[in-house]
Symmetry: C2
Subunit: 234 residues, 2 copies
DNA sequence: CAGGAAAAGTGCGTGCGCGCAAGTTTGCGC
DNA sequence: GCGCAAACTTGCGCGCACGCACTTTTCCTG
């Protein structure tokens, strides 16, 4: 089983004017976090992912091993966070960027697809690394849960702060759908295990592209979004 | 060796669909699992939850510590599973039990509420234990993800095996919604941390009953269910 | 600007998750 | 029955997550 652990990262208010006081303290903290991220990813790429101990990461980042896991609960989380770090905020920002006239469902879908399709040079290399191992893959999938809080924020805003808990549920559903899409995407081969009691026809799409998978995973949720925004704006 | 067990003497065949052959091997496995579950819960109730080591649980169940975590990945998981063990299957069964005519959304909602409301004598006592600690609470919340596979199965069936992946997304969304409901339910006090960027009025319902929370968390998903079954049966 | 409180970093010890390589049991075909 | 292959268990060992107590840094306030 996968143990999901809640790592709380500070999400800055994206639409606010500017960060009032940067705070020297917070600066160093983020610097350390970034140093750990980069060190973890770099070492994982250089040697195998399994040939990296926390001690190595901590040393490369210039902190003690104990400090390391004040930031990350697991080795995998550190490596993965290097590639999923800001996706959360970027998705939320992308949703907020859409004009207020468009369907919420479309805004969210496009924002998600956009952020997962835009593979930066380094990200693509990292994804190759992640795909190789089970541990890293699970960590990567668990990381998708991180989009829930910022998504909740923007959706709540679009819904005029009316159905606050509705926004929460919708955001969580989106996170779940994205997770499913990614799950299916990075296991084209093997794994007949998932048959379970799904019944007869395993008629699943062989292996669509990631954007296609994301869209078709989010599509079933569209009616829920429509109903939600219809409810707030009759 | 030659046990006098005829395959037909099994009384507690709970599975709705297929029960191929019970298999003596699988029997002992489930027996061990159950022994570990019960031992974990009992010890956790007797002493504090933090005063129980895996070694104790394993000893109480009559296996080695190493065997213990061939079954459970964490101490908390073992304890929690004693109370969430069959809920998954029970929810799926409850959905399947509803007449085929009713709205899928209603069937699912009622099934979920029913299974979480029906507090067995022992369950209620266990929940008190779980509420006390953060670790157990998280494990309990994580366990809600377990309802996804069986829910996927029944929903797929109701949808005439058409939108297989739609069923998957809906099931995952339900799991997420249930999780949210439980989350809010077991933290009526404290935790001002969740303020985040939710904006102005924190106008949330003070602390509704669990059934109410479940219903209102599942409500936003109803349109998605309606659309799904409308799509398969025009 | 001084002093003290809050927060971040660090050393240390304990229990745990899990891979590995035996040993033991279960199941099945001859 | 016989024996083989697969599945399950177990001892061993390594690294890691994390609580606790303590030092160092940062921030606030009189």
């Amino acid at each position: 089983m996968r143990a999901s652990l809640r790592a709380r990262s500070i999400v800055w208010n994206a639409d606010a004017v500017t960060t009032p006081p940067p705070g020297l303290r917070e600066r160093k903290k983020q610097a350390t976090r970034e140093a750990l991220r980069e060190a973890a990813l770099r070492l994982a790429v250089e040697r195998g992912p399994d040939q990296v101990r926390v001690e190595d990461i901590a040393e490369a980042a210039g902190v003690s091993p104990r400090t390391y896991n004040n930031y990350f609960a697991s080795r995998e989380q550190a490596i993965v966070s290097a590639v999923t770090a800001d996706r959360e905020a970027r998705i939320a920002a992308a949703v907020a960027a859409r004009p207020a006239g468009v369907r919420l469902a479309d805004a969210v879908t496009e924002a998600v697809v956009e952020q997962y399709t835009d593979t930066g040079e380094r990200e693509h290399k990292a994804l190759l690394l992640i795909t190789t191992g089970t541990a890293l893959r699970d960590a990567f999938l668990d990381a998708t849960a991180g989009i829930e809080p910022p998504l909740t924020a923007v959706i709540t805003e679009r819904l005029d702060h009316a159905g606050a808990h509705t926004a929460r549920v919708l955001a969580a559903s989106v996170a779940a759908a994205v997770r499913i899409a990614l799950e299916g995407w990075l296991r084209p081969a093997g794994h007949t295990e998932s048959a379970k009691s799904s019944g007869a026809g395993g008629l699943v799409v062989p292996s669509g592209s990631l954007p296609d998978r994301l869209r078709s995973a989010l599509a079933p949720l569209a009616p829920a979004f429509d109903a939600a925004e219809r409810h707030t704006r009759p």
